[in-house]
């Protein structure tokens, strides 16, 4: 029993309690308090703290969004990461060159961001480069899945959906050399252990597909533009089996665009054609989401 006893700090508040207290602080305070001392700085940027902080603050709203420069791929351009609502700049990072597509995701506390760029699908080995805010650096992480991966979206920039501790993209897994023979799945990147994996979809139909966060859970949406309705599935037990997808509803929508879900109501104003503000999802294809 004595083995688990925490070591007391100077005024006898044990380290585990200090950790617990800091994990309840808002992002801004957490970042400021990295300056308290070395041990605070190192536990605050640890994956364990980040995931604890994320869980604690899931019910509150903390998020960040990313502004991408207009002309992409040129040298000297930076992406800016903002804290939501306060619009404080959390970080700026240089845009790497040598890639024709750039995919950005964010974890919500804004302490660590998993920003990835993917190599071209023609390249033999698939890998992503992960940018970590806390260390201000890029690292290469291999995608250990056999088939080639092609990300959805035909714009140069797309976004990742953060849910349950992982970033998610809709991707085609390309079998053989024929790019038309592919299976659409969700590619996830666990920010805690930095592992890629794939999640099968409930419906592989040919309609427009989105992934989003619905009440903290990973959800999958298909949009039928022609008949203007959307169908939503939610993954009840994250990362478990295919059967875990639960079809929530089908709904007729006013306009044909789906952006994401709000944290509270589930369905956003975006469905009414007002896409100015979307919670939980990082929108990058326009620059207009910054104003509320």
């Amino acid at each position: 029993m004595s083995q688990t006893k925490p070591k007391p700090t100077n005024n006898h508040i044990p380290e585990n309690v200090v950790f617990n207290i800091v994990a309840w602080l808002p992002v801004k305070s957490v970042i400021r308090f990295r300056c308290v001392c070395k041990s605070w700085d190192s536990f605050i940027i640890s994956p364990y703290f980040i995931s604890t902080h994320l869980n604690n603050n899931n019910s509150k709203y903390h998020g960040c969004f990313i502004k991408v420069p207009d002309s992409f791929g040129k040298k000297g351009k930076v992406c800016k990461v903002f804290c939501d609502r306060t619009y404080y700049i959390i970080s700026e990072y240089p845009v790497p060159s040598g890639f024709d597509r750039f995919y950005v995701g964010s974890t919500s506390p804004g302490i660590v961001g998993g920003f990835t760029k993917f190599g071209k699908p023609k390249i033999k080995r698939q890998y992503a480069e992960v940018y970590t805010l806390s260390s201000n650096s890029w690292r290469r992480v291999e995608i250990s899945l056999r088939p080639k991966v092609r990300l959805h979206g035909n714009k140069r920039i797309s976004y990742a959906t953060f849910a349950c501790g992982a970033l998610h993209w809709l991707v085609d897994f390309i079998e053989y050399e024929d790019e038309l023979q592919c299976e659409t799945k969700i590619l996830s990147f666990d920010v805690y252990n930095e592992k890629f994996r794939d999640i099968a979809l409930p419906d592989g139909g040919r309609r427009t597909q989105h992934i989003a966060v619905f009440r903290g859970k990973l959800s999958f949406i298909t949009v039928n533009y022609y008949d203007r309705y959307i169908t939503m599935w939610v993954m009840e037990e994250y990362g478990e089996v295919h059967e875990s997808w639960n079809k929530l509803f089908s709904l007729v929508i006013e306009t044909g665009f789906f952006y994401g879900c709000t944290r509270y109501a589930g369905l956003p104003d975006a469905l009414q054609g007002n896409s100015s503000y979307v919670e939980s999802l990082v929108l990058l294809d326009k620059g207009t989401e910054l104003s509320e």
Binding site: V17, I21, A23, I31, R32, C35, V36, I90
Partner: protein, 182 residues
């Protein structure tokens, strides 16, 4: 079943457990209350496993790391916690609202120095709900404070090499805006 049986009844047939603090005060609490203190529960379980328990319904448990003052407050908090839970057994949302209301009132009567004392006691007793609550309370008390204030509060000193702290401050300058005066 009458309505009466649904409300918590202190004279019910449940076992009493006696807790003895470091300043030699003795508290007799209901088993349900004592079982929220995981350290006590653990002690109890160990005793049972060792077949030491006698036939009596009262067990005395020494708490050498807890003083009577915080323990009395924790017992009150725990009783209220159980009561609110019992009253809203089928409505989680109502329960949370009641609990929040109680906790807000509770904090009005707690001095900042007491909070540290309560945290240490709750941590020793491994009373998770209370510990989380007190940690949240401390967090909201320090969230707008300066780095210097927080160091003092936790009795810490900066151990950064020259330049390291300045670099962090520069990099995250935005997080130092709008901080309370010490």
């Amino acid at each position: 079943m009458s309505n009466q049986s649904e409300s918590p009844n202190p004279t019910s047939s449940s076992n009493k457990i006696t807790l003895k603090t470091s300043d030699n005060e003795v508290f007799e609490v209901e088993e349900a209350v004592a079982m929220k203190f995981c350290t006590v529960k653990q002690y109890f379980d160990d005793e049972n496993n060792n077949n030491v328990t006698s036939g009596t319904s009262t067990t005395l448990i020494p708490l050498p790391n807890v003083e009577s003052h915080p323990l009395a407050i924790l017992i009150t908090y725990c009783k209220k916690h159980l009561e609110i839970k019992a009253n809203n057994a089928d409505n989680k949302k109502e329960m949370e609202i009641d609990m929040e209301h109680y906790e807000r009132e509770f904090l009005k009567n707690v001095m900042p120095q007491e909070l540290t004392e309560l945290i240490l006691a709750a941590n020793y007793l491994n009373f998770k709900e209370a510990l989380d609550f007190f940690c949240r309370a401390v967090a909201s008390a320090i969230q707008n404070k300066s780095v210097e204030y927080v160091r003092k509060f936790f009795g810490l000193e900066s151990d950064f090499k020259p330049g390291e702290e300045e670099k962090l401050r520069e990099e995250f300058a935005w997080s130092f805006e709008g901080v309370d005066e010490d």
